[in-house]
């Protein structure tokens, strides 16, 4: 299992080959498209990430100290971001997730241009993830 840091570095490398905004966003949307669709039954109020401008659902579960994430959004761009998060997060140790940051967002450059209001959405996703881990995973 690769570490959170290694997985983020892979994403950063992938994006570094893309020059224009058009290519970067197209790739991001493709990542979202490649993610399996979320079971509609999991699109509950409790799974709705609060603080995002678009609707984002996180379905999280803990198994043997590891966390698994399924995600969806009505926005193609946000769905792409959640696909990256799913790759980075799923299967990781609960303990490691509590201290994770989302450095890939700064490095791939997509977020530099986003206004504070939109950027807050990503922070909201991270908060949602961390509070789930704190509340539902037994961390020694």
């Amino acid at each position: 299992m690769k570490t959170i840091k290694e997985l983020q570095q892979e994403i950063i490398n992938d994006f570094s080959f893309l020059d224009s905004w058009d290519e970067k966003y197209t790739y991001l949307i493709e990542l979202g498209d490649s993610m399996p669709p979320m079971d509609p039954a999991n699109k509950t109020e409790a799974n709705l990430v609060k603080g995002c401008q678009s609707s984002v659902w996180f379905s999280l579960r803990c198994e043997d100290g590891r966390v698994y994430l399924e995600a969806d959004s009505d926005s193609l761009i946000v769905r792409g971001i959640t696909a990256i998060l799913t790759t980075i997060v799923s299967g990781q140790c609960a303990q490691d997730l509590l201290s994770m940051d989302v450095q890939f967002l700064d490095e791939i450059g997509l977020w530099k241009h986003l206004s504070l209001q939109r950027n807050n959405g990503v922070m909201a996703m991270l908060e949602h993830l961390k509070s789930f881990v704190s509340e539902h995973c037994n961390i020694a």
Binding site: W21, D22, Y25, T26, I29, Q53, S54, D74, S75, L76, I77, V78, L110, H113, L114, S115, Q117, R118
Partner: protein, 274 residues
């Protein structure tokens, strides 16, 4: 407060439904004031603030208040002609600094109102038995003032006064007409609101494209728009619009900016419709 029942689809409030004080039952004294807000956020229609429309405060005062934050730099305002008791607008909507605004009030009202903050300069004399407050405007200017704000705002006002307001209005209307013409030529685009008088904004959606996605891409292309519900959820819910993209025009914009917006929309659409 508008409850959404009095909104027509073209984005105009039925202002007559607010006409007389007796028609408005205040839920509490704070809501008892009738606010006529021109140019509501999601549509940019100008209902035309007009004389009259007083409502009753729970304490038996009658008060007319105008809220002009969205339109202060677009249309002429004359508080005397409106006979407004109060009139409010924000500095940052007229190219001034953030964190400051103007509340105009008739002197007779301001004399009646007690200070809302305490601090230096707002008192006349203080003793343990009795305190009297300073005269206007000092009784509302407690403590160390926000010094740089008024300086910036007054510079912004001077700047705006350099322009002939009629010419400016004509320029902005011409830009808006051009924007409406170009946007409505895009297949699948819905332009919201169809008021007789539109004020400065062009709210829209494109079929099959989420507003946030379009806004994010325009952002990356260097075109600033706002997306979402524009702090007007009740109206948007009533009209069944989950959110939209809103371009705002001002005196510093040109037709080239509108062309850039249209090009940006076409470029974004290619990415989002694969």
């Amino acid at each position: 407060m508008a409850d959404g029942q009095d909104i027509e689809f073209h984005g105009l409030l039925h202002i007559d439904s607010y006409g007389q004080s007796t028609e408005i039952i205040p839920r509490n004294t704070r809501e008892g004031m009738l606010t006529q807000r021109n140019s509501p956020g999601p549509f940019g229609s100008i209902p035309g603030i007009r004389k009259g429309g007083a409502s009753r405060l729970g304490i038996g005062w009658s008060c007319k208040r105008g809220h002009a934050a969205q339109s202060i730099h677009h249309i002429e305002h004359d508080v005397r002609a409106l006979d407004a008791d109060f009139y409010a607008f924000s500095s940052h909507k007229m190219y001034g600094p953030t964190g400051i605004g103007v509340l105009y009030g008739k002197e007779s009202w301001l004399e009646k109102l007690p200070p809302y903050q305490s601090g230096g300069e707002m008192i006349d004399s203080v003793s343990l038995e009795h305190t009297t407050y300073n005269q206007l405007p000092f009784k509302f200017e407690a403590g160390t003032p926000h010094i740089e704000g008024p300086i910036g705002l007054s510079t912004a006002i001077d700047y705006l006064k350099e322009f002939d307001s009629l010419q400016l209005r004509a320029y902005e209307e011409d830009l808006l007409d051009y924007g409406v013409e170009r946007l409505t030529s895009i297949p699948g685009l819905t332009l919201y609101g169809n008021p007789k008088k539109r004020s400065s904004i062009l709210p829209f959606n494109i079929q099959g494209i989420q507003h946030y996605d379009l806004g994010s891409l325009l952002d990356a292309f260097g075109i600033a728009v706002r997306t979402g519900q524009h702090c007007t959820q009740p109206i948007m819910d009533r009209l069944g619009i989950p959110g939209n993209v809103r371009a705002s025009l001002a005196l510093y914009n040109s037709k080239a900016d509108i062309d850039a917006l249209i090009d940006g929309i076409m470029r974004a659409r290619k990415i989002l419709r694969k």
